[in-house]
Symmetry: C2
Subunit: 190 residues, 2 copies
Amino acid sequence: MLQPFFDRYNSIYPLSEELKNTLEKELEIIEVPKNYHLLKDGQRDDYVYVLLKGLLRTYYIKDDTEICSRFMEEQHICMSVISFFSRKAGYEYMETLEPSILARIHYDRLQFIYKNFIEFNYTARVMTEQYFTLSEQRTYLLRKHTSEERYVLFMQQFPSFLQRVPLTYIASFLGMNLETLSRIRNKISK
Amino acid sequence: MLQPFFDRYNSIYPLSEELKNTLEKELEIIEVPKNYHLLKDGQRDDYVYVLLKGLLRTYYIKDDTEICSRFMEEQHICMSVISFFSRKAGYEYMETLEPSILARIHYDRLQFIYKNFIEFNYTARVMTEQYFTLSEQRTYLLRKHTSEERYVLFMQQFPSFLQRVPLTYIASFLGMNLETLSRIRNKISK
DNA sequence: TAAAGTATTTGACAATTGTCAAATGTTACG
DNA sequence: CGTAACATTTGACAATTGTCAAATACTTTA
């Protein structure tokens, strides 16, 4: 089940047998239903997840309204970035949008591996760079584009989410409300 | 001149003499005037910089208008994230807003160090995590907040830029136009 | 220090997007 | 198969922000 993840890992920096065994031992597989909360507002995120099957979103609440900040699909590494890296309670929720299977590792165990398998940092650095790049692409979407442009960019950059994620969530991700998105879709389809 | 940077570095993971010497040898110090472009639209960013003195911004052009995406001050590591990490030409400009002194290293030399000083990846991983966190905080600003809220958050999160950066740039960073920002400042000061 | 250049503020009006209410469409399940 | 629950669309109107033009304030330099 973890093999695709190890393959990706190995393509960045050779993964030794010993490290692979350690990761297999430390990664805990959990299976959760749809709409299950892996993290809530005010909690510190102590785990990083590999999403093996399913779909996740992160969101936060502003004026009693949910604002989606990210969608994550299979083979992706998932966490609440600010909370996990800064070791503080955050404002983000992390929730499954489909029944999901995840591998997770606790922050402390991860640090143990970083210290004892120094080459593990090479791969982690590269992966962090990749997710940082993705994050900047999401942010670019939000800046100074019209509602319609944001939706078009979203379709281009993240076509797979369009099929799996309800419109309300996409609308809040794109910084507009559901009705506006609906009108834009209507306009574009003509 | 590089000592504060090395100190910061050393506090994350011990910096060996050999690595320190290598970094000192590889880092090239450049001194540039105000409004100097380190990177332009359509170019690939081949350097990562440490800003020793001065002030930078990154921006891009949308419909003939400049949109600031980031401000960077002393001791910070500066690059065009998407271009530098993905090795592709990007859309971003990187420009000094004050006369500046920077240390820079070429992408290829950096990779050389990553491969030959494997512990260098530990520090780089942690630093990438820190900048990723900062980037997510900037993005949080942009999502579903009113113009006034965005400005207040900016004042709280990045007070030092308020003194050094012209309002036009701050306005475009916050996704509003200059006149709107001016009215908000007026309203708040009452 | 005066003049030119740049930065910020103000006003009037237009365009875009949000809000609320209701209608319609779709899905899941007893 | 019908009903409830949920998702999406549509309409009327309000609020926010943008645009353009002009006035004022601040900086730089000859």
